[in-house]
Amino acid sequence: MAGTATEDVKVLGLALSPFVIRVRIALRLKRVEYEFVEVRFAEPKSEILVKSNPVYKKIPVLLHRGKPICESTVIVQYIDEEWTDGSGSSSILPADPFDRAIARFWAVYIDDKLLALIWALRPEKEAAKVTELTRQFRQVLGLLEEAFPECGKGKGFFGGDAVGYLDIALGSCLGWIRALEKDKSVKILDAEELPRLAEWAERFMAEESVKGLVPEADEYPKLYAAAVASQ
């Protein structure tokens, strides 16, 4: 069901944020049209951001008919539940409650461990610490590598035949992972150590719903500098 002008869907965010990317992929999967509003995340924050998300003042925020929804996983679930064609065919979360629980669990894990590693590794310059963080990163991804067959049930994505909730949760981080690999000259998503994930990553990035939403690795330094620049 395509969004129309009366649907009034806006996404407040910045292109480099994995959390924002999640929301944009979800909207693409549901073929919902929206206005992407780039906001000031560094102080002073954009007024619309502060007004829509007074508790956290963070991106992304989804505005639907003027009502704000905050927190990327909450937003993705909202998108899944709000734009449904009833048949479940364009469902982002799996149909079976146990499969949903597994997908949700791994999304919690990703937000708990993986994102923290991205933020820790980004500014790190000391070689020993970079090595240690890279090792931790690969350990975390190793668990997802192991979980992949059970989640995907032998198919190409964590969600099975199509991109699903967990694909979005993890895939949205690929831009940063590749940017860090380049910037720190390390291998994080090592195809030898993590063959299933490496193949999945290629598949994911080639998807119509993803193309163009994840910035290229060498764009990140510029995007990041712009995001944190004070006025």
Partner: protein
């Protein structure tokens, strides 16, 4: 139904969430009581990644993380007992989930910080932070309840469960520091909600009284103090 097992203890507010949900659904289950300070084989096997309670085991398959467990219970048994836990429409569901995130991310950690505060100054700061969070939740309650009894309106819903599990933790903290946190004067709506929630048939059955929670809070305090001292050495 020995088909449903819950690993944990009602003294953990996160386990209590699952117990309240199971109670709302009027489901039978086996509580595999964990002893504080020890982790059973079953727990380590069922939650190898976090090694934490609660873990729900259904048809021998483990489900971890309290928010994931409560949504699972609601999805598997949609009409049992008191009925649906998650609100019907997507927007309300998003608000219930958002505030649950806030509670786990900011609010409960501020209550824990109050328990860990050692100086009078630190305690006072911690009290302010807990109260500031409660004021936000009071505001959210007014909006979501629309003048009715619970966050879910007429019925106990997801946010009632996910926040209500702390009702006696708030009382215990108040006894611990001799300061009112959820006070009727500044937060009448939320205060009234807490009283009603504690009295709900499905909640009364499983919620430990604030005296027991206080005892446990003191045990935790001692552990935190020891951990902090050990870390210094």
């Amino acid at each position: 139904m020995a088909d449903v097992k819950l690993i944990g203890s009602a003294l953990s507010p996160y386990v209590l969430r699952a117990m309240i949900a199971l109670s709302l659904k009027k489901l039978e289950y086996e509580l595999m009581q964990e002893k504080f300070g020890e982790k059973s084989e079953l727990l380590l096997k069922s939650n190898p990644i976090y090694k934490k309670i609660p873990v729900l085991i259904h048809h021998d398959r483990p489900i971890c993380e309290s928010a994931v467990i409560v949504e699972y219970i609601d999805e598997v048994w949609p009409k049992s007992g008191w009925g649906a836990i998650l609100p019907a429409d997507a927007y309300h569901r998003s608000l219930h989930r958002f505030w649950t995130f806030y509670i786990d991310d900011k609010w409960f950690p501020s209550l824990v910080a109050l328990g860990k505060a050692e100086t009078e100054e630190a305690k006072a700061e911690a009290v302010e932070r807990v109260r500031a969070g409660l004021l936000l939740l009071d505001e959210a309650f007014v909006k979501l309840s629309e003048g009715k009894a619970f966050f879910g309106g007429d019925r106990v819903a997801y946010l009632d469960v996910m926040f209500g599990c702390f009702a006696n933790w708030i009382k215990a903290a108040e006894m611990l520091v001799s300061v009112e946190l959820l006070d009727e004067a500044t937060m009448p709506a939320l205060h009234g909600w807490a009283v009603r929630f504690r009295e709900h048939e499905a909640v009364k059955e499983v919620m430990p009284d604030s005296g027991k929670v206080l005892e446990f809070f003191k045990i935790l305090q001692a552990k935190w103090k020891k951990d902090a001292a050990d870390a210094k050495n």
